[in-house]
């Protein structure tokens, strides 16, 4: 799986959990999921669980802490698939 493919899939996962007033076009590789996109901690867990399902991987507490941006998530996924 290429980095672009992983990134595209992450974008579509993150999109589902955006607040109503944040448009999907706001998602960039380095946008901070909580600070820039306004995703709350409960939805961050949903994103992590969707990422696990989408890439068939397991995330731990450390990954969860590191997963602050889409790029960081790409790095985590690449290290596990």
């Amino acid at each position: 799986m290429t980095t672009t493919e992983i990134k595209d899939q992450l974008f579509s996962i993150v999109k589902v959990y955006l607040p109503q007033d944040v448009d999907a076009s706001a998602i960039t590789a380095d946008s901070h999921l909580m600070k820039d996109l306004g995703i709350n901690s409960a939805h961050l867990v949903d994103i992590a669980l969707d990422v696990e399902d989408a890439f068939d991987i397991m995330l731990d507490e450390k990954d969860m802490e590191a997963m602050q941006t889409v790029d960081a998530a790409v790095t985590i996924v690449k290290g596990k698939v």
């Binding site: 709350n40 901690s41 409960a42 961050l44 867990v45 949903d46 992590a48 669980l49 507490e61 969860m64």
Partner: protein
């Protein structure tokens, strides 16, 4: 008086009498919880919802399901933690199928979908004593560090 584990969970809930919607837990495990509550005709909201026609508000039914399904189950799942954690209600999607009149006893059953990264998600349903389905749906809460 020695309380069993189920009674202890109910006794330790952080709600005052006017907002505690759990009388008793019937079952609890890592994966599920069953609890009951009788809506007393003296509850303060019946005087206002509705005027001359008391019906339990949907938000109160939701609260009852959250107290049993999220807070009681969450407190069981975190019993090994040294400090008593605090739960916040984060989301719910509930369908209401019937009304709850004063003096109805409701039975709430919640099944754990997952408890990961401090988030508990359950599927929940509420029946009345006639086993009529009152409500069903899903709800989640997060454990927060205080």
């Amino acid at each position: 008086m020695i309380l069993d584990e189920l009674d202890k969970i109910v006794a330790n809930l952080p709600y005052g009498d006017g907002f505690k919607f759990v009388d008793q837990l019937l079952e609890i495990s890592e994966d599920h919880v069953i609890g009951v509550y009788r809506f007393r005709k003296s509850e303060y909201f019946y005087k206002h919802h509705f005027i001359h026609q008391p019906v339990t508000p949907g938000v109160i039914l939701t609260e009852c399901m959250a107290q049993i399904g999220l807070v009681c189950l969450g407190s069981y799942l975190t019993k090994a933690l040294p400090e008593k954690p605090q739960f916040v209600f984060t989301e719910n999607h509930i369908q209401f199928l019937d009304v709850v009149k004063p003096e109805t006893t409701v039975i709430v059953t919640a099944k754990k979908e997952y408890y990961r990264f401090n988030k508990l998600k359950v599927v929940v349903q509420m029946l009345d004593e006639q086993e009529r389905k009152i409500a069903e749906g899903a709800m989640s809460g997060m454990l927060v560090n205080t």
